[in-house]
């Protein structure tokens, strides 16, 4: 499998997916 970080679009998509994951992680932490 090709490394997504080899392309700029792959890198940006990785960043967006990570943003979504971290958003839900942070949201699940009580204030």
């Amino acid at each position: 499998m090709k490394n997504p970080l080899d392309s700029l679009w792959g890198t940006i998509i990785c960043g967006l997916i990570l943003t979504a994951i971290l958003y839900y992680v942070v949201k699940s932490i009580p204030l």
Partner: protein, 163 residues
């Protein structure tokens, strides 16, 4: 004492713009430019005159950004890094920034020194250094996306994103 967070925020933003701006320059401009220049045999100008200067401001602006961010968090630094007391949003941003700072100083800069000939290295070592520096740099581009989200959303847009 309100001057400290105000000045720290200002400095954090200025240094952060320089750090992430140069990171995007490397990834969106220089990587492709270097490839094209190498094919034409004109890469020496970039390698000798542009890259070392860009790397100088890149790695030191990373340090200033981190220190100013730590000063801005002040006595909330511990809560941010432990993602507690309502500091989880900005805390994730702080963790991402810290990982990115580590990538700059432990992976990108030492390998770039070999690539640019600032440190002696064999051709094989240079090829390996090129790959490690490239992947560390691309990792930082990917991490910068949630980093900026949590930096922006951690405070001023907190209510909108509900963090």
């Amino acid at each position: 004492m309100d001057y400290v967070p105000a000045l720290a925020r200002w400095l954090h933003l200025m240094a952060g713009v320089m750090w992430i701006g140069l990171l995007y320059y490397f990834n969106f401009v220089q990587v492709a430019a270097m490839k094209a220049a190498t094919a034409e045999g004109t890469q020496a100008g970039i390698a000798k005159h542009v890259a070392p200067r860009a790397l100088l401001f890149f790695r030191w602006s990373a340090v200033v950004t981190w220190l100013a961010g730590a000063a801005l968090l002040g006595n909330q630094l511990g809560n941010a890094f432990t993602l507690s007391h309502g500091m989880a949003g900005i805390g994730v941003g702080a963790w991402l920034g810290t990982i990115m700072l580590f990538n700059v100083w432990a992976l990108i800069w030492p390998n770039q020194q070999k690539i640019l000939g600032l440190k002696p290295a064999t051709d094989e070592e240079k090829n390996k250094a090129r790959r490690v520096a490239f992947l560390a740099s691309r990792t930082n581009v990917a991490l910068s996306i949630p980093l900026l989200f949590f930096m922006a959303g951690g405070w001023s847009h907190r209510a909108i994103f509900g963090l």
